[in-house]
């Protein structure tokens, strides 16, 4: 038999020792937790992280920005810069940071419309940034192309003449004459018509639509090169003569991929911003005055 007391012999189970050790551990844990809880001042460090050039009230000033400003202001690399140049840039950055922090303390966003506008724009940018960083897969892009094929075409062009007549009878006579191949000038003179000159040469579809108006443009897009329309009533009696119509042609996915990605991103940004607004509104406690409900 060993003469060691039972509580000191680790080969022997001793309930009292277990209890004391567990209690000691609990007390130490409580002391650490209590100290941390009642003396907490937020995360604080005295070391400047290597990726930063300074901490202003624990707010980091990025080294990338520091180097970029040296380049912008003095056109020098960090290694070639003088101590004065580095000090000037650093002082400028610190000045900006302390003013920004003071602006937050003063809650300028609640009173200054410029600050409010800048903050709204910045938050919109944040949501757009995340949408751009998320790279779509080829499958997603192809699905987007399939769902929006009409967006990915060549630009249609048309060269069309728009003649205006006093009445339907004159217009009908002009249609017959033009279809028989008579020169437009003589047809207009014989039927009392005139060229509206809204379209005088080859134009893209979008421009022709603006110049002709919706009704005439819709009629024009259906016309083949060389065709003469029936009289069209649209703020006067019109007859269209299509000199050349080149409708848009569908691009393949491969040819349109850059535009598909561009369109996909634009819509992803719009969606991300809408989602963020929805989230913010949902989280916000908004009370509306009774007279405006």
């Amino acid at each position: 038999m060993s003469d060691t007391p039972a509580w000191r012999d680790p080969t022997q189970i001793h309930a009292g020792r277990s209890l004391v050790l567990a209690a000691t551990g609990a007390v130490i844990g409580l002391i650490i937790a209590g100290y941390g809880l009642f003396t907490a001042r937020g995360t604080s460090t005295l070391l400047v992280p290597p990726e930063d050039v300074a901490l202003v009230n624990q707010q980091p000033l990025s080294r990338v920005d520091f180097v970029g400003m040296l380049k912008s202001l003095y056109d020098v690399d960090l290694a070639d810069s003088t101590p004065e140049q580095r000090r000037k840039i650093l002082e400028d950055m610190i000045r900006e940071e302390v003013y920004v922090q003071r602006g937050k303390d003063l809650d300028l966003a609640s009173v200054d419309p410029d600050v409010r506008g800048a903050m709204v724009a910045a938050v919109e940018q944040v949501s757009a940034t995340s949408a751009i960083t998320d790279q779509p897969t080829e499958d997603k892009l192809r699905a987007h192309y399939d769902a929006n094929r009409t967006l990915f075409t060549s630009a249609g062009t048309m060269d069309v003449r728009d003649y205006v007549f006093k009445d339907a009878a004159a217009a009908a006579g002009a249609v017959t004459a033009l279809r028989s191949g008579k020169p437009a000038d003589s047809v207009l003179a014989a039927n009392g018509g005139r060229d509206s000159a809204k379209v005088s040469s080859e134009e893209f579809y979008f421009a022709a639509k603006i110049h002709l108006g919706d009704a005439l443009f819709t009629a024009a897009t259906a016309m083949a090169t060389g065709a003469v329309s029936e009289p069209i009533e649209a703020d006067g009696i019109h007859v269209l003569q299509m000199v050349k119509n080149t409708p848009p042609t569908q691009y393949t996915y491969e040819d349109a991929r850059v535009r598909v990605l561009d369109d996909y991103r634009k819509k992803a940004i719009t969606r991300a911003q809408a989602n963020m607004e929805m989230f913010l509104r949902k989280r916000a406690n908004v009370l509306i005055s009774e007279d405006l409900r």
Binding site: S2, T4, R8, D9, P10, T11, P49, P50, E51, R63, V64, D65, V67, G68, K71, D77, L78, A79, A122, E124, Q125, A128, T129, I132, T133, Q135, S154, A155, T157, S201, E202, E203, F204, F206, A207, I210, E254, R257, V258, R259, L261, D262, R265, I269
Partner: protein
Amino acid sequence: MMTKAHRTFRPIIFTALAAGVAAAIASLVWFNAYAAAGRLLTADPNAIPADRPVMHRAVTAGQAVYSRQCASCHAAGGQGSVALSTPALNDGDWLYGDGTPAEIERTVSYGIRSHHARSWHLTEMPGYIQATASGTHQIIPLTPSDIRDLTEYLMKLQGEPGDEQAAARGQTLFHISAGCWDCHARDAGGDRATGVPSLTDKIWLYGKGDRQSIFDSIAFGHAGVCPAWIDVLTPAEIRQVALYVYALSHPEDSGESK
């Protein structure tokens, strides 16, 4: 004489000692890595290529980051992609800046038209087949024949044969009504300070420099995007990948021993 208690405690002491030694080694490894990252981050990025050991470690680590985040667009070897309209990173031709490690690091951090406030975003190629080609500059739209004439002028700048009269009309458009010179410069040499490409060097980001792709570029415009990685990658990873990209066009500076 060894007591029973001694015999019992001996393996515990050895285990504790072994654990202590392992922890010390791990701490040393971690501290060394931390210190190396610190040296990498506090150094002038443009001076790092001259420090072969540091450059070699950075390029090796940067390659892994590149493969994970950049290769899907810029291709595994940095040769870019005509199909994806992403620029080559290994040819020494830079759209933004002169391709120094610091400039590459800025692009990786903040991106191009990434909507990050510090991204490169001063310019955008307007599409000329809209009622207002550029909202900010009030550029007027062009007709199909205008764009064909401009295309001929750009083909002529590449030294390609074409319609001389159309090219002459295109030259007038370039320098006057279309306003192309305002971004692309009078000599069409572009501007690296704002990311405007040269139109004289036969390097094309969109298409292969044929008439149709040039026509489409003028008609529909372009605004290429590179994401901002500052909130995705660590500062060390950003610098490592910037140095790797730099080394793609400067293999002699990759830090590998010759």
